[in-house]
Subunit: 352 residues, 2 copies
């Protein structure tokens, strides 16, 4: 895809936690690959976390930033480039980058501070890649319009089902299709719990604590187990792939807390599996959206998913039924999906 | 993706058979969708089959061409625009189009006449979308270089596993990944036969004749059942996704004719399934390539494939293990993959 020349891209990063830090590690470890395959050189010029920002218009030393975070310190504490008094938004407002990577924690109440940072970046002509569901669930149409009006790209494949290219397949490979039904196992925590309960005859509590120990569930798993995380992802798919401007309120949501061992056993005895399935079903020019524990026949592509898998099925008019799944043992594929989005922006800009 | 303006793209089509004709039907039935979603208007200015060509620089009436073919006649016989004395290559040489869609039958001996048409088109600055494996298997490096040198795109997602976006996922979603192992059920005929033999306890001969009756196998199924079709697809994946310049000779090939009902029963008794699996396994900076009947554990993503499915699994360093599968009841998804490639060329050109 490279045209022989190397394109130098200055980027800022908001959020240096689970995804952000792994993304920085990938930027560093994949430096040669990015240059050779995509003709891309990524230069970190600013990074923000709760401690403030670190910034240098000529480029920050990525390994030093990573090391600082791994010591449990904040980027604002960097001896040369740290600015503890500055916020991520102020850093974006100051400009000086081509691309914003937004990977701060999802704030489902008002999307802040991510939403303001993304709006500022798009308005200022920066491309944006985000791993943060909240701004998209709360303000998809406005952000899409801002990107269009400013001639920049907004990409967010990492927000839906980790490293599974669900948005990408839907937007690109099914660009001309009508999708009459979409089904997804979009939340890792609940799939881990249900699958372990069924396979290993664990109680819900046991499976949850295993998930937490393995890093597949939060300390407070409410958003996951009550189905809201999957519902958020379904809203993003509705906007981006189904061209249906859904709100979270449009999704009928039932979590997995009511699924007991008896129900799982009964399902297995009939050769079926219970999964938490997010479904969009075409209904005239609308879609009916739901997230609920669903019995799937054993040969359904989503029935087969193991505890560390997520998956999606698109039923279409002209592209057949296409399914995709990912095995995600670590959070690296989610960070790699952010990097993939970055690569795709510049590959599509420079594609010949 | 549309920027508001409609881009008029003149295209020529070589081959108006199974894929080519269905592609024309899709161009017609998806006209409004192409315009609304991609800002694309496709104008057929020339079409070639064995009877000659039909051409009109202002645009041919697609429904008339389709009707002519459905009557069993050739495009050279079109009363106004038919030129029986002209070949597809001469039509391409005459120029006047932005895009060549090549969908003639695969000639695995020398790739002709498709290879010459594609070379001519690329050299002349036309984008090319092909559904024809032969030119790619025989001359991938030369064609890729021609496209690069002339600043045009060569796309071929429809050549590998019908409508499954195997090349697309590999090239785009795994652009920065190292793929250490790739496994694919890439041939529909053999998967249909093996799956029916196992599920319905048919003999090979019964399953083959069912496949032929359902249009899932050729009258002469040799290339499919002896594994060469899958091997060809593996060679294309090696070049395009693995960056490994393989030749057909590099693939160890065993077909399915030696798989009997006893072997399938024995496999099932142990909870495994036998599929014809194309495998690329990293070995230093090379890949070992093979196509052979392979026992898969029941929870392997490819083990679950039904008779009308194909699938692929990519095992990667940073993107986890990603699998994808398609249910393909008709040849329409293959034609839709050609249309998807066309759309992607202009979406990526105009993407903002």
């Amino acid at each position: 895809m490279s045209t022989g020349e190397t394109q130098r891209v200055k980027f800022m990063l908001i959020g240096a936690g689970n995804v952000g830090l792994r993304f920085l590690n990938l930027v560093e470890s994949k430096r040669a690959t990015l240059r050779e395959r995509l003709g891309l050189e990524l230069i970190l010029v600013g990074v923000a976390d709760r401690s403030g920002v670190a910034r240098n218009p000529e480029g920050l030393p990525v390994p030093e930033i990573v090391a600082l975070k791994q010591e449990g310190r904040g980027v604002g504490e960097h001896p040369h480039w740290g600015v503890p008094s500055e916020t991520g938004l102020e850093m974006v407002q100051a400009g000086g980058a081509d691309l914003l990577v937004e990977a701060s924690p999802a704030n489902m109440v008002d999307g802040q501070p991510a939403l303001a940072c993304i709006e500022e970046a798009l308005s200022d002509g920066m491309h944006v890649v985000t791993a943060n569901k909240a701004p998209l669930v709360l303000a998809f149409p406005r952000l899409a319009e801002l990107a269009r009006d400013n001639g920049v790209q907004l990409r967010y494949d990492a927000t839906v089902a980790g490293g599974l290219p669900a948005v990408n397949i839907g937007q690109r490979d099914l660009a001309v299709a009508e999708i009459h039904r979409l089904e997804g196992v979009l939340n890792l925590t609940t799939n881990y719990i249900l699958t372990r309960m069924a396979q290993d005859e664990m109680s819900y509590e046991e499976a949850l604590s295993h998930a937490q120990a393995a890093g597949h569930a939060e300390t407070d798993p409410t958003l996951d187990v009550e189905g809201w995380d999957a519902a958020n992802k379904l809203v993003i798919l509705a906007h981006s792939v189904l061209r249906f401007p859904a709100k979270l309120d449009d999704v009928e949501v039932t979590g997995i807390t009511g699924v007991d061992e008896e129900a799982l056993k009964a399902a297995a005895a009939e050769g079926t599996r219970i999964k938490l399935v997010a479904i969009a079903e075409a209904d005239g020019d609308r879609y009916r959206l739901s997230v609920r524990p669903t019995r799937l026949p054993a040969d359904h592509p989503l029935a087969q998913l193991g505890p560390k898998q997520m998956g999606i099925v698109f039923h279409t008019d002209i592209n057949g039924s296409i399914s995709a799944a990912i095995v995600e043992d670590t959070p690296i594929p989610t960070a790699a999906a952010v990097l993939r989005d970055v690569g795709e922006i510049y590959a599509s800009e420079g594609r010949i």
